[in-house]
Point group: C2
Chain length 282, copies 2
């Protein structure tokens, strides 16, 4: 391990975000407003159930109301969209989160895109993506926003750096590529069809692992001094990065767990409070 | 110049696209439908006036109706949007093009985004961008679509190739990066804040110049065998690529003029016909 290695502590970043939220939630309370996040879980995937529970608990601890809607695995796309539309209309709900992934027979994209952009605190809709890619106001997807928040918290420079994003999903690889580009990084987006992936990673100042394969990124792929953010969450709390193998090369790295994960949840809470404030004209 | 150099002839690609459109336009005529493109020009910038005239002439030659709306330079954003909304409502209009750029006092993004997605044949709205980035149906921005059409026409492989896009504008650099990524290229998006631009270009299999600086891309930046597409259109019909200097290195290159330009116009016509057919349920 190199002497100057910085472990990017997601719990610390999340604590800072939550601390700032507490004052804002108290202020909303004086106006009789309680920020409210509605979470929809379709089916009973164990990992998804855990995530939804974690998000609900995080809301509760901070004084954000959470509504949990559990739908059976056999729910149709139309039924799911009808549920979302009810929540769009519900004036007490400030944020709507549809837990990804939904069962295969559901058109997840249609469901995501039925979430009103004002309540899309998870930043999953097509319109939210585009607004963010073009640098407008809209809630960015939470994991990409968490990655940016960690870089900002630790004052790690992005402008002019070469960022290599491994993964191109609509809720992670594509939006984080867009957000890094908007912060003036030179961004390379890699994926399963990339040839010579190692070559790209070796030239990266910032590596974003968003590939969904445990311990995928190898230590000897890392340019000495690179910053590594691991957005992977594989079964068993294993990241996409071979953490121990990368320690000798990285200048900064997120652990898994306690890296990107807690900041993602804090970002979701922040967006919910942002939405509640916006509705109040604050 | 290397012996196997392929000059990517935009006129040839455009002619092929137009040939396919003729039959479709005739078929629409039997149903009493004439595809119609409305073009809005705000102010009297000479280059923009030329582009609008070229597009109008191209429509006329193919049997597409064109409506040209000239607005004074002092038009407000609200007035422009009101004009666009009238065209959105007009059932005889299948495509709406707002000539870029508009005078500085106008919120161009708001104007672009007021174009109905069904009629956004120039692919400039935020929603059109996002739908394309995610690989859905929507009209892609015309110049990026023209670049992809040239690659396809000449059967130049994209999957697994390293594409370097120089430029990140909302109507060119960002959408062409997204479209190349969706065709499985590994895409690096470079821009004014990129350090060591030459290094990125030197590793590219496909170079997209979309920077708006005459003769910017130098010959000795080009990896031997690279494919170069020049989307630049600088005053005096000068591209972004130093064409002569790149000839010894490239395996294929678009000239300026007669490269990307004519295919962009043909793509605009194609989208207008697509829109007319879609409205007829064809």
């Amino acid at each position: 391990m190199n002497a100057n290695l910085l472990i990017l502590d997601g719990n610390q970043v999340a604590a800072k975000i939550k601390e700032q939220l507490e004052a804002r939630i108290s202020r909303l309370a004086t106006k009789g407003v309680v920020p409210c996040l509605a979470t929809i879980l379709v089916g009973d995937d164990p990992a998804s159930t855990t995530y939804v529970r974690m998000k609900g608990n995080a809301c509760k601890r901070l004084g954000i109301k959470s509504i949990r809607i559990d739908l059976p695995a056999e729910t149709s796309t139309d039924q799911l969209i009808a549920t979302i539309k009810q929540l769009n209309e519900d004036s007490e709900v400030h944020g709507i989160l549809l837990q990804h992934p939904v069962p295969h027979h559901i058109d997840e994209r249609a469901a995501f895109d039925s979430i009103s952009i004002d309540k899309d605190v998870d930043g999953v809709s097509t319109q939210s993506f585009a607004q963010n890619a073009f640098g407008f106001a809209a809630f960015p997807s939470c994991t990409p926003a968490a990655i940016m928040a960690i870089l900002e918290y630790y004052k790690l420079p992005v402008s002019g750096k070469h960022a290599v994003v491994i993964g191109r999903s609509p809720i992670l690889g594509k939006p984080v590529s867009a957000m890094l580009l908007n912060k003036d990084a030179t961004v390379t987006t890699c994926h399963s069809k990339t040839t010579e992936l190692e070559r790209f990673v070796r030239s990266a100042d910032i590596v974003i692992a968003a590939v969904g394969k445990p311990n995928f990124v190898q230590g000897d792929w890392i340019k000495p001094g690179a910053v590594i953010l691991d957005a992977g969450y594989n079964p068993g709390n294993i990241g996409d990065v071979d953490y121990e193998a990368c320690l000798p090369y990285a200048s900064a790295i997120t652990p898994v767990p306690a890296g990107v994960g807690p900041v993602t949840i804090a970002t979701l809470l922040k967006h919910t409070v942002d939405s509640a404030e916006k509705k109040q004209g604050i």
